[in-house]
Amino acid sequence: MKIDVPALSLVILVGVSGSGKSTFARKHFKATEVISSDFCRGLVSDDENDQAATKDAFEVLHFIAAKRLAAGRLTVIDATNVQPEARRELVALAREYDVLPVAIVLDPPERVAVERNEQRADRQFGSKVVTRQLGQLKRGLRSLKREGFRKVHVLSSVEEIDAVSIERTRLFNDLTDVSGPFDIVGDIHGCLPELEQLLTNLGYTLTRDAAGRLVDAAHPSRRAIFVGDLVDRGPDSPGVLRLVMGMVAAGNAYCVPGNHEDKLLRSLQGKNVKVSHGLETTLAQLEDETPEFRAEVATFIDGLISHYVFDEGKLVVSHAGLVERMHGRASGRVRSFCLYGETTGETDEFGLPVRYPWANEYRGRAMVVYGHTPTPEPEWINNTICLDTGAVFGGSLTALRYPERELVQVKAAKEYYAPAKPLHVASAPEREPDVLELTDVTGRRVIETSSHGRLSVRAEQAGAALEVMSRFAIDPRFLLYLPPTMSPVATSKLPGLLEHPLQAFETYQGVGVTDLVCEEKHMGSRAVVLLTRDDDVALKRFGLAGRGAIHTRTGRSFFDPALTDELLSRLRAVAVEAGLFEELDTSWLLFDAELLPWSAKAEDLLRNQYAAVGAAARTSLPAATAALSSAVAAGLDVGELLATMEQRAVNAGRFTEAYRRYCWPTNGLDGVRLAPFQVLASEGATYQNRPHAWHLGIADRMVAAGPDVITPTRRLFVGPDGWDEGVAWWEELTGAGGEGMVVKPALNLVRTGKGLAQPGLKVRGPEYLRLIYGPDYTEPANFERLRDRNLGHKRSLALREYALGLESLERAARGEPLWRIHECVFAVLALESEPVDPRL
């Protein structure tokens, strides 16, 4: 005998002690699928037969079962389950996780069970227990089905038990092996002319019957999926039904039911339903059809599955959407959600139920496509999209091409039915900010990156980042990227130098990268610029009014909103002039740049820290050296101390020179300049695989288009035999007071045998390093201690942040939900809170 068990179900074995449940379970299921009450008793009390531990044991059993069901794993309960209360709790558990409860009753003759128990040394509770259990079992047997089990299988002899085989059946909604491509069609509501036009536009060939009625449509390589609400309100519901039924029967389409089909079915079945909301139209139209057709319609609707999971779980289609925990599940609750969605229990000013905004909270991997709620324009919310664009209300009929994510629309010929509320106010009067939840960013997190595998963020790091992000960062919708930290070169062995280009060249050569580019390190602040082509792009693409953003490496805006907009409009003019939007075929552009001068952002820091050091030194050191000189003149032995202080005075002077190079007066935007050096992302594209020559070429064109606001980035390409030239260039740059340079692989993102290569290594000039290592770092005693730098942590951090940055760019370019982008951006900030030697 064969028993069908749904692939995702809670299998409850029922049988007296000694009926052979454990043996049965072992034979037919994986050991990890079976949770036995004896085992749980052992877990909590070290004794599998300790009846006093039963309560605790069942708590453990339920806890494990709940975890497994939440994860979508078939689970078998091996306990006697002869009492209805015990079964009731398990059925409730199955319902809670929307899986099917199945009972398998093992009911061999009583003596078999008694004998088995007698043979077991650890079960000396006599035959009375078995008899009592058997009584309970027999009393409950008849009502098992009514307890809510989907299927009940009773095996009442040893032979039957031995002969049985278990077959796992897929759920009806499981079409994970069907991968499309698909054309998913929104709510039709009897708009046959629009449907015909839409299918034609999508490339389907239509078939008509002898009477000229549409009965099928086929595409050579694609299949259609209908999200339901085929009927009611519109001009020809029977015609739509006939076509869709034909397509489904021919295997050219799938269809899920809408609430209107559900109501129509109940009406056709003669149940008492209120004939309203357009049902009256459909019923009248069906009057003209044959009774056979009406019967076919009823059978068709009755056979519809409330939702489907396609393409290895990447696509879910249901009429009213579906929360992730219900994907691929089966229960009355799931069906009800699919047909009606979830409502808050409130009604709006038009008397319509307020729908619970489940999509705002959706964090699932699968794309969810649905209809049900008319909206003027389909809109992606967290990888879900509603295709009901109110065709019957004079809107349009919409199809989504999957996996292309393209929308194809046919405008309705007219308003067939007056909506209860005007279509243009169908969605919220003002768009809600994309909802980010605390759980999107806090706690320990693991993020899968395409370039560097799984990266984790610790909870404390996330905590520190939460404060900075919440208090200072710009709106996350404009915050697509935070730049990674950059490692310096390995410490130089040359006398008097901590950093030197040779170490950069050698390090890259060591991993087989010999074509390099040296880029001038600007004396400014790192800036990320989000630029839009015109003023409505930001609202349309990012859901936020404005022109874009110019933010720091921790996500703060450089300027107030007015100045930001002004600078963005200058930069927009530059990008337009340089033809970047056309060339990259995009309406927005994200690039990496340096904003100058440093004092524009960090004036307080310069004044209160660097200039203060200079001022204190300038005042105290001359007094100290004067006193020491007098003491030396008086014959005291303080000559060495005097020399030290004199040298300190010289060093402090150099330190002052060094910081002064970073300041020039700015007034508003006058004097502010931007040096772009890398394009990060645009619609549908990221640029880490374009060589730096390309990026710098774009930068040069921006310089040409806007020399008053864009500063060029000087660079030198260095091949395997160009090291001397590279060193000379660096010496020239730093000798003239420059900060130094960054050495990068010319090809940009480079993967070596050891994984990702560092995207860049900074080589800072000796005078600039005074600002970092202190005025006196060049003194031999200090220098020797400073040479001992631990770069390992910094390098690892730089790579992890780089990979997270790329991941956020890729997600942004693909148009992924905000939370998916934000989690990467947030993770970069979280990693930046790591304690690392700040001088590196």
């Binding site: 980042a465 921790t554 001022a615 202190g774 006196d776």
Partner: protein, 468 residues
């Protein structure tokens, strides 16, 4: 890092170089001693019968200073702790050096010249780079009551950038006739007080030290409150290193939380009392204090036995640790502790843990959020958490003219992103109420001024129940 003490011992019929006996330091022999982060030297540039100058010089080693302050962990410091003015300015390190070199002189003992130690002697003190928050005027206020003639000159920040103005240093010269022990104690207390910087190494015995060093003069000093406040206020008992690192990555200074310039402390108390009364009036049993800070309101509400569940949230983990410490959270009886929970949360993210409570309080919170982020705040409070009532307080900017210490156009707190007039606040509040289905009413907090209204304004939102 440098100061000199000079005397000519006029009127004492003794060679000026006898100053060496008083200081217990031989003028002919420079001395050195190790201090935290470096070496301190004492030497005499001049020691003649006419005039005697003792100089104290610190040779600070910033590398060692960071290592001393951080214990063994060599990585977790900020650049500001590393490249700073400590090697040049007269900070608490100099005070520490004084107490090490002149311990005996500071208690006024001198066996060789006891009459001199007991007498007021003519003294000149020069501190060329004294960090002085409050400028020359404060230096005057601090030293003049102690009998010093004060010559304090501002030091420009950078002579090449005149627009930057003066630095926080003054070049200080004191002259007076003062007992040496008193003079040394004055310096010992005043150097850190005027500096007013964080003391990374302040220990728990600082109160004792202040009492000892201030005996005989501090009690009568007109600025004694400010002195003791500054001397003790900067103990860092909580680490916020991670935050400082992030700020520094941006080249932004980590500002010390400046006290609110709202004048009398009673306004804060008044606010808490009013909010607590509103909550009682609402009969709220389950309450979240959003942005609870160090837990002052939570502490107040905890006393009300009718409140069954109290949640304090803040975006700053550090604030929550403070709040727990203030309320002795870990030592509360279980029953009390069960009522109270502290959670790190943020008003710009939806937090499901806060859903469905009776009331949410946002006391002086919204003005710390950038205006473009306010829609996210309203969403997280009024849509995601959706409590039955929301109480919001915020400064009434019209009232600012009544604060004498507040310059025109300035906010009451440096972190305020805006301060609203009553009309501005009500525009925002009524918009939020409409959008999310709340009714809103406004109430004053604090004495209402006929012209400019109350110092603080309060909006009470009540969720409108939709008829089923």
């Amino acid at each position: 890092m440098f100061l000199t003490l000079t005397t000519d011992l006029t009127g004492f019929d003794l060679p000026a170089s006898d100053f060496g006996f008083l200081l217990h330091k031989n003028p002919g022999r420079p001395q050195r001693t190790d201090i935290t982060g470096g070496t301190a030297h004492v030497f005499y540039p001049e020691a003649t019968t006419e005039r005697c100058t003792a100089a104290v010089l610190l040779e600070i080693d910033p590398i060692a200073l960071v290592r001393a302050g951080r214990g063994k962990s060599s990585e977790g410091f900020t650049l500001g702790q590393y490249v700073n003015d400590r090697p040049y300015a007269a900070s608490s390190l100099l005070a520490v050096a004084l107490s090490k070199f002149f311990r005996t002189a500071m208690i006024g003992r001198c066996d060789a010249r006891p009459e001199l130690a007991a007498a007021a002697i003519p003294l000149e003190i020069h501190v060329p780079a004294l960090p002085c928050r409050g400028g020359t005027e404060l230096a005057e206020r601090m030293f003049a009551p102690l009998g010093w003639a004060v010559d304090a000159r501002p030091v420009p920040l950078d002579p090449e950038v005149p627009t930057w103005g003066d630095s926080r240093y003054v070049d200080l010269r004191l002259t007076g006739v003062v007992r040496l022990a008193d003079a040394l104690n004055h310096l010992y207390v005043m150097l850190p007080v005027l500096d007013d910087a964080k003391h990374y190494w302040v220990g728990s015995d600082e109160v004792d030290k202040l009492v000892r060093a201030g005996s005989g003069w501090l009690g009568a000093h007109p600025e004694k409150d400010l002195i003791s406040h500054r001397y003790l206020a900067h103990r860092r008992y909580l680490s916020d290193d991670a935050l400082e690192r992030l700020a520094e990555a941006d080249g932004i200074e980590v500002a010390d939380e400046a006290p609110e310039s709202e004048g009398p402390v009673s306004l804060a108390v008044e606010r808490r009392t009013t909010v607590a009364a509103v909550l009682r009036e609402l009969g709220a049993r389950r309450i979240v204090d959003v942005g609870c800070g160090e837990g002052a309101l939570v502490g107040e509400l905890l006393k009300d036995p009718m409140i069954g569940e109290l949640i304090g949230t803040d975006v700053s983990a550090r604030a929550l640790i403070s709040a727990k410490r203030r309320l002795h959270y870990d030592d509360l009886p279980d029953r009390q502790r069960d009522r109270l929970k502290f959670l790190q949360s943020s008003v710009t993210y939806a937090d499901e843990r806060l859903a469905g409570l009776d009331a949410a309080v946002l006391m002086e919170v919204i003005e710390h959020v950038d205006p473009p982020r306010l829609p996210a705040l309203s969403h997280s409070v009024f849509r995601a958490a959706r409590p039955a009532a929301v109480v919001v307080t915020t400064p009434n900017s019209e009232y600012n003219v009544r604060f004498e210490s507040l310059a025109a156009g300035k906010f009451r707190h440096p972190d305020h992103r805006f301060e609203w007039t009553r009309a501005e606040f009500q525009t925002w509040a009524s918009g939020v109420a409409d959008r999310y289905g709340y009714a809103v009413e406004y109430r004053p907090v604090g004495p209402e001024d006929p012209e400019v209204g109350p110092p603080t304004q309060l909006a009470l939102f009540r969720r409108m129940e939709v008829a089923a």
